[in-house]
């Protein structure tokens, strides 16, 4: 009997031990999840993984620039298209247009790259001010003496990337002095390549009234060119980089054939 009782005691003890292990395991997992979720906050409050000003600006503005580029790419390069075709609820700007039938179109935007650069610059203006102020505040909170003088903003569409350069000067003083004269934000995007193809399509549309999509896909193996003719004679061109998935779409109306004569 005594042995039996001892067995029972050990058995109970063993079960209790298992329960404790399970509870400890649950607590560890829960803590892990909490740390994972709160890590950025914990990191900033502890001062760990301190971002340098360049990284701060990149993190702060990258999403905004990507979003702006996404909108511009789906709207023919304009944030607020004026003369557009509504396709799938998107306002797609006409880059070459004539309201008449049988006639070749008139180029509406001869410098599409420059136009897009300007549009991005204007679209991120407000957000960049917010980011610079946030950065200033963040460093002041960490005991830095901060001097910030804002300068010019320059956006460049370049091969495989979009580079935004802020010529603002930031001086940080604590134990020593750090000076930053330029903040460069790089977004990987193929808009440069896609707008180059756009220029060629516009040339064909303005000269001959149409462009052959397969010619471009033969030369550029990772490019997809779609041409969707609409009932009113409008053509929607959708250019897609098959590797990156980057798109650029725009509208033209050239040598339109109406119903009847």
């Amino acid at each position: 009997m005594g042995k039996k009782r001892e067995d029972s005691f050990f058995s109970k003890n063993h079960r209790a031990q298992v329960t404790i292990f399970i509870i400890v395991a649950i607590v560890i997992v829960a803590l892990g999840i909490l740390i994972y979720l709160l890590y950025p906050k914990i990191e900033s409050s502890l001062g760990g993984g301190e971002e340098n000003p360049q990284t701060f600006m990149q993190n702060c503005l990258e999403e905004n620039i990507a979003e702006t580029v996404g909108i511009l790419s789906s709207q023919g390069g304009s944030m607020n298209p004026e003369n557009y075709f509504l396709y799938n609820n998107e306002k797609i700007e006409y880059l070459c247009y004539t309201n008449e039938n049988y006639k070749t179109c008139i180029i509406q935007q001869p410098a599409i790259k420059k136009h897009i650069e300007k549009e991005i610059e204007n679209a991120i203006k407000e957000e960049s001010i917010v980011c610079f102020n946030d950065m200033k505040e963040s460093y002041q909170n960490r005991g830095y003496e901060v001097q910030l003088s804002s300068g010019q903003t320059k956006v460049e569409l370049l091969p495989k990337r979009i580079v935004t350069t802020f010529s603002s000067t930031l001086t940080l003083r604590k134990t020593n002095t750090e000076r930053y004269e330029e903040f460069v934000i790089v977004l990987n995007n193929n808009l440069y390549e896609l707008t180059s193809i756009t220029e060629s399509i516009l040339d064909w549309e303005a000269s001959y009234g149409d462009a052959e999509t397969t010619t471009y896909m033969n030369y550029y193996h990772d490019l997809k060119v779609e041409k969707l003719k609409q009932t009113d004679g409008t053509k929607i061109y959708i250019l897609t980089d098959r590797n990156s998935g980057n798109k650029f779409q725009f509208a033209t109306r050239s040598v339109a054939w109406p119903a009847g004569y």
Partner: protein, 557 residues
């Protein structure tokens, strides 16, 4: 066809076109520098002109401010035609009142940049050189794009061996890149940072050699790994240092000679294709070719290459063209193929070639073809993906397809139906270079009341559109006028002899409903476009029935 009737039809056509032209001219009498809806240089009614910009009661072609010319961008070298001066200047371009081909800065030449080539202006070439940081060579003697692209030559490549005394490693580089390393190394006094700053580093270039060459005795060894290279189609072996080696050929993986020197794509394995254009030996050979229908891609689970994780992927497509829910043998398409969609209510047009429009076969024009709402579509197969390109609506464009050795090519071509009914002889009517018409031959002896009001012989031969165009008949437009061309009257003469009953003596064919005269008229009417009684492409009947085609029969005793 009688000359008189042809003249009448031609006049009717001219009137129809003129009415549209005059009415449109009447509305768009102003040249708006900018319209209220944001378009530059359009002919519109005055109320559509933006008040902040110039306008004149004339056509834009006659104004100075909307004159079209070439806009030249002096920074990136882009020249575009049909640009109004103001639009060009607003974008900091240089405007010239001439065509691009007459502007020296817009002349195209061959820009050789590194291993690439582009047929662009000299300014654009310089701009590209700046962007890519590469040396350029601009050749004006090459005057077409294909020749230019063919003239691009790859850089001389080889093993760039870096020996720092402790380690002898290697990078597979272009000669220029290796030379740049050598220059930098010499500049750094032979202590260029390759891991060891203590001993002197020597850099040698071995043209045509791979880093795995046994003669070079580097620490780079052959592996079973493969990779895809941006801008190239083939699958390549990779060595243990991460350098590219030769094209993936499973048979030669253990052959030291294959890991010694660069082997051209014509001296390695050949990727073979089956009759559907699919690669058959891609598991063991990485010699893919985009134009033959394969390119290097990551291998899927079912691909199972003998070595590595990359394979020559088939770029062809499968498409259920007839919509029967399964892929038939003739629904497999090669990469680069284009074909006409089997779209409801259209004709299947196969021609000798897209340049020569002589139809080889065409399903006979029936009332089930070119019916209201139907439209032609071109299908395009590229990169294992089918895209659909609609041709112009209202069947103003038709899709034509030609085939050479099972490879089909299709194009949307303008449907030139407009002047068919004005043609009075078969040769002019069927001149496929000028129009898409067909000559209908019907023999009747009917006397009819022509449009001129005179009794004349029924014309049994007519020129009508080969592919009936569509009209926007639900709104005011040309449909009513065009369809009215098929209006006709037939005067039937009856005689009643003494004690007898009325008997038809003249133009009795008109009474044989649906066969001769009536049948001809219906066919003529339907061929003109969306006229007469028809069902639409969805199979729904129109509001007219066959007998409604007739305005009525009257009797004068």
């Amino acid at each position: 066809m009688s000359t008189k009737k042809t003249l009448v039809i031609a006049l009717t056509l001219i009137i129809l076109i003129s009415i549209r032209f005059i009415s449109s001219q009447g509305e768009t009498s102003y040249c708006c520098e900018k319209t209220t809806y944001g378009a530059w240089c359009q002919n519109e009614p005055v109320e559509k002109c933006d008040t902040g910009f110039r306008k004149a009661p004339t056509s834009c072609e006659a104004t100075a401010y909307c004159k079209k010319g070439t806009c030249y961008n002096s920074i990136d070298g882009v020249c575009l035609p049909n640009v109004p001066e103001k639009v060009c200047q607003d974008s900091d371009g240089i405007w010239k009142d001439t065509k691009p081909e007459d502007i020296p800065q817009c002349q195209l030449g061959c820009c050789l940049i590194g291993e690439q080539a582009a047929f662009v202006t000299q300014t654009k070439c310089k701009s590209l050189a700046g962007l890519y940081g590469l040396e350029i060579s601009y050749r004006t003697d090459i005057q077409n794009e294909v020749e230019c692209i063919m003239s691009a030559s790859p850089d001389v490549k080889g093993a760039c061996v870096i020996d720092n005394g402790l380690e002898r490693t290697c990078k597979f580089l272009a000669k220029k890149e290796c030379q740049a390393l050598q220059t930098n190394n010499e500049g750094a006094g032979g202590f260029f940072g390759f891991g060891n700053n203590e001993s002197e580093t020597e850099i040698e270039f071995h043209e045509g050699y791979l880093c795995t060459s046994e003669t070079l005795t580097t620490n780079c060894a052959p592996t079973e790994k493969t990779t895809c290279v941006e801008g190239k189609d083939e699958v390549y072996f990779v060595d243990s240092c991460g350098n590219l080696a030769n094209i993936y050929d499973a048979v030669k993986i253990n052959d030291p000679a294959y890991w010694d020197k660069i082997v051209g794509y014509d001296k390695t394995c050949t990727l073979s294709y089956n009759q559907n254009g699919q690669p058959t030996n891609s598991r063991v050979c990485g010699n893919c070719d985009y134009y033959s229908g394969s390119t290097c891609k990551s291998a899927g689970r079912s691909d199972n290459p003998e070595y590595g994780n990359n394979i020559c992927k088939y770029l062809g497509c499968e498409y259920d063209t007839d919509g029967n829910g399964k892929i038939d043998n003739d629904e497999k398409y090669n990469h680069g193929e284009t074909w006409c969609a089997d779209s409801k209510g259209t004709s299947q047009i196969v021609v000798n070639s897209l340049e020569d429009h002589t139809p080889l076969s065409k399903t006979y024009e029936k009332t089930s073809e070119n019916i209201p709402g139907s439209r032609y579509f071109r299908m395009v197969c590229y990169n294992n993906e089918v895209s659909i390109e609609p041709c112009a609506d209202f069947r103003q464009e038709i899709c034509m397809q030609s085939e050479v050795n099972g490879f089909s090519t299709a194009a949307c071509k303008v449907n030139m139906w407009q002047d068919c009914v004005a043609q009075d002889n078969e040769d002019d009517c069927t001149n496929i270079d000028k129009r898409d018409c067909k000559w209908i031959k019907k023999v009747t002896n009917v006397k009819i009341l022509g449009i001129s009001g005179q009794i004349e012989s029924e014309i049994s031969e007519k020129c009508v559109p080969n592919y009936a165009p569509g009209f926007d008949f639900w709104q005011e437009g040309d449909a009513q006028g065009i369809c009215a061309l098929a209006n006709a009257q037939c005067q039937v003469k009856y005689e009643k002899k003494l004690g007898g009953s009325w008997e038809c003596v003249d133009n009795c064919e008109c009474l044989k409903g649906g066969v001769d005269w009536e049948g001809n008229k219906i066919e003529f009417c339907q061929s003109l476009g969306d006229c007469g009684f028809k069902t639409n492409y969805l199979g729904d009947d129109g509001y007219n029935t066959q007998f409604d085609g007739f305005a009525g029969k009257s009797w004068t005793e």
